[in-house]
């Protein structure tokens, strides 16, 4: 759906030149929810603005829904933009228009007829759960409701892609969850491709299928959310992941373990269906090892179960070998934290 090739953006000012994006290559397939995460100033805002040419790239090419965005201008660009919805951190609604009026706005720009607009607005209000707010003004709405209007407005022209620019950063945690839920629902229901930029790993964990980590104007890591969560390469990715899935063993536990220098300690990562299999029972029954659960967590990546368990294993060298073989057969990623003896 979106192909970004060798994209660069350099800002020139009297103070000098600033490279905001350096040689970005990205591919977003249809129906994906692609998260781009980075710290502030990493260039992610510039990147998403390049997708609809709010920011003109200095170099490179962007093909979106079969159209080369970088070559468009004037009327052609405006038409192409009607195929790309966008929502914003600060909502950017028109204060002088009601909820219905705001949703109708992009349709007026696209020169739909009055009847078509009314009909489309009536379809969109229930989609975002705002049927009873149709004639309210933005000033009368909460942040979450404003973003729902933003989403309805962005979807009005039935775009192929939805761009989310820090769409939940101005919302409280509970509202964030409900807005992310809505985006996920829309992604599934309409098979809409979504690109999200954020600095919150929580957003990636909740709804994204793919993720790219951007740092100092470059993409340093990308892949499916599962693969990046299980095998993060860069230190920044690891840091982001630990912000939502605490990875370190609690200090108290580490102190206790120091008293048993000969214990064998392993960390097992579960993903998807393996998370619900009786691994520990099998280890005890089939391999004859004693298992002591030290620490564990279970969470979801979008809808995939994802968990880690830190275990202390005790048994003869043979039974321990059996245990490892069993774990490998199950396709579980095993990390030996400490070898016993």
């Amino acid at each position: 759906m979106i192909h970004i090739t060798n994209l660069s953006k350099v800002f020139k000012s009297r103070q000098g030149t600033i490279t905001a994006l350096k040689d970005i290559n990205l591919h977003v397939s249809k129906g994906a929810v692609y998260g781009i995460i980075g710290l502030s100033g990493a260039g992610k805002s510039t990147l998403i603005r390049c997708l609809n040419m709010l920011e003109r790239p200095t170099e490179g090419e962007i093909i979106l829904d079969g159209q080369n965005m970088t070559t468009l201008s004037g009327k052609d660009l405006r038409r192409a933009r009607q195929n790309i919805g966008m929502i914003f951190q600060h909502f950017n609604l028109l204060e002088s228009r009601t909820v219905s009026g705001n949703i109708a706005f992009p349709l007026e720009i696209a020169e739909w007829s009055k009847e078509e607009i009314d009909e489309r607005v009536k379809e969109l209000l229930p989609l975002v759960g705002l049927e009873d707010k149709a004639s309210a003004y933005p000033a009368q709405l909460s942040g979450g409701q404003k973003q729902r209007v933003g989403i309805a407005r962005a979807l009005a022209t039935k775009p192929a892609v939805l761009l989310c620019d820090e769409a939940t950063s101005a919302l409280d945690p509970q509202t964030t969850v409900s807005i992310l839920g809505l985006l996920k629902e829309i992604n599934e229901k309409l098979d809409l491709t979504i690109v999200i930029i954020t600095h919150e790993m929580k957003v990636i964990k909740e709804i994204c299928t793919d993720v790219a980590v951007i740092d100092q104007s470059q993409i340093i890591e990308q892949g499916s959310v599962e693969s990046v969560f299980i095998h993060p390469q860069s230190s920044i990715a690891k840091e982001f992941i630990s912000s939502v899935l605490p990875n370190d063993l609690p200090a108290q536990l580490l102190r206790e373990l120091a008293l048993h220098p000969h214990a064998e300690i392993v960390k097992i990562h579960f993903l998807g269906s393996t998370a619900s299999e009786p691994v520990i029972t099998d280890l005890i029954k089939q391999c004859g090892v004693t298992v002591n659960i030290l620490y564990g967590s279970i969470d979801y990546l979008r809808s995939t179960m994802f968990g880690t368990l830190t275990l202390e294993l005790q048994g003869s060298p043979d039974s321990l070998a059996d245990a490892y073989e069993y774990l490998h057969k199950r396709n579980l990623k095993v990390e030996v934290i400490r070898n016993g003896i």
Partner: protein, 230 residues
């Protein structure tokens, strides 16, 4: 003074004499103010819009247009009205065919008010956040759609308040229009009240002006509040 005033207001001939001059002056003032304000906005709105959209990071950035237009506006705003009134006489004659009278006074009033209006419009339109404009651009809005569907509708309230300010300013300026025979209440106050020591006429005209100014401000404030949805 007291008994003198009483005998004056009881004299029907006194009221007859007022009826001959006050309503005529009031009509002249209303005519000059309404037409001048309207024309000042016809000229001022496009100027204000251009000032805003050609500024940096706006929809049609063009530093050359912005600077030239800004300078012209500043020049006209810095010329004292009474000098503009005289300096514009040849131009006025060209436009309306005469250099004296109420209609002739409208030309300098418009020329002096339009740049002021442009600045008022500019400051109103700049209240629209960059984010809202960016949102409209992201939907594929053209510069004209951004002007007509975003900038102007979003700033109805401050624009209405600006109209009240402009109208009241123009009322004050019409007093000086007497210099080119424009007539009006202000001129009446000067001609009768000041030059001929008719304090009563001075007071009456000033009272009428106070009521008009209060009324305009009230209408402006009320309308602006009604149109604001913040």
């Amino acid at each position: 003074m007291g008994s003198e005033f009483l005998s004056l207001v009881q004299d029907p001939a006194y009221w007859d004499s007022l009826a001959k001059i006050v309503p005529k002056a009031l009509n002249e003032t209303i005519y000059m103010v309404v037409v001048s304000t309207f024309l000042a906005y016809v000229l001022g709105i496009p100027m204000g819009v251009f000032l805003v959209i050609t500024s940096a990071n706006h929809v049609l950035p063009n530093p050359w247009v912005e600077r030239t237009l800004g300078t012209i506006i500043n020049i006209f705003r810095s010329i004292p009205f009474i000098i503009l009134l005289v300096a514009l006489i040849p131009f006025t004659t060209m436009v309306v065919g005469t250099r004296i009278g109420t209609t002739a006074a409208i030309v300098p009033l418009v020329i002096s008010a339009a740049p002021f209006v442009a600045r008022l419009i500019e400051s109103s339109l700049k209240e629209v956040s960059h984010g809202v404009i960016e949102a409209a651009l992201s939907m594929g809005a053209s510069p004209w759609q951004i002007i007509s569907k975003v900038l102007l509708p979003e700033t109805k309230s401050p624009i209405i308040l600006g109209i009240a300010i402009t109208t009241i300013n123009i009322i004050a300026y019409t007093a000086m229009a007497g210099a080119v025979g424009g007539g009006g209440l202000g001129d009446l106050a000067i001609q009768y009240g000041y030059n001929r020591f008719r304090t009563d006429i001075m007071i009456i005209t000033v009272l009428i002006l106070v009521v008009i100014v209060q009324g305009i401000q009230w209408v402006g404030t009320t309308l602006a509040r009604k149109l604001s949805h913040r």
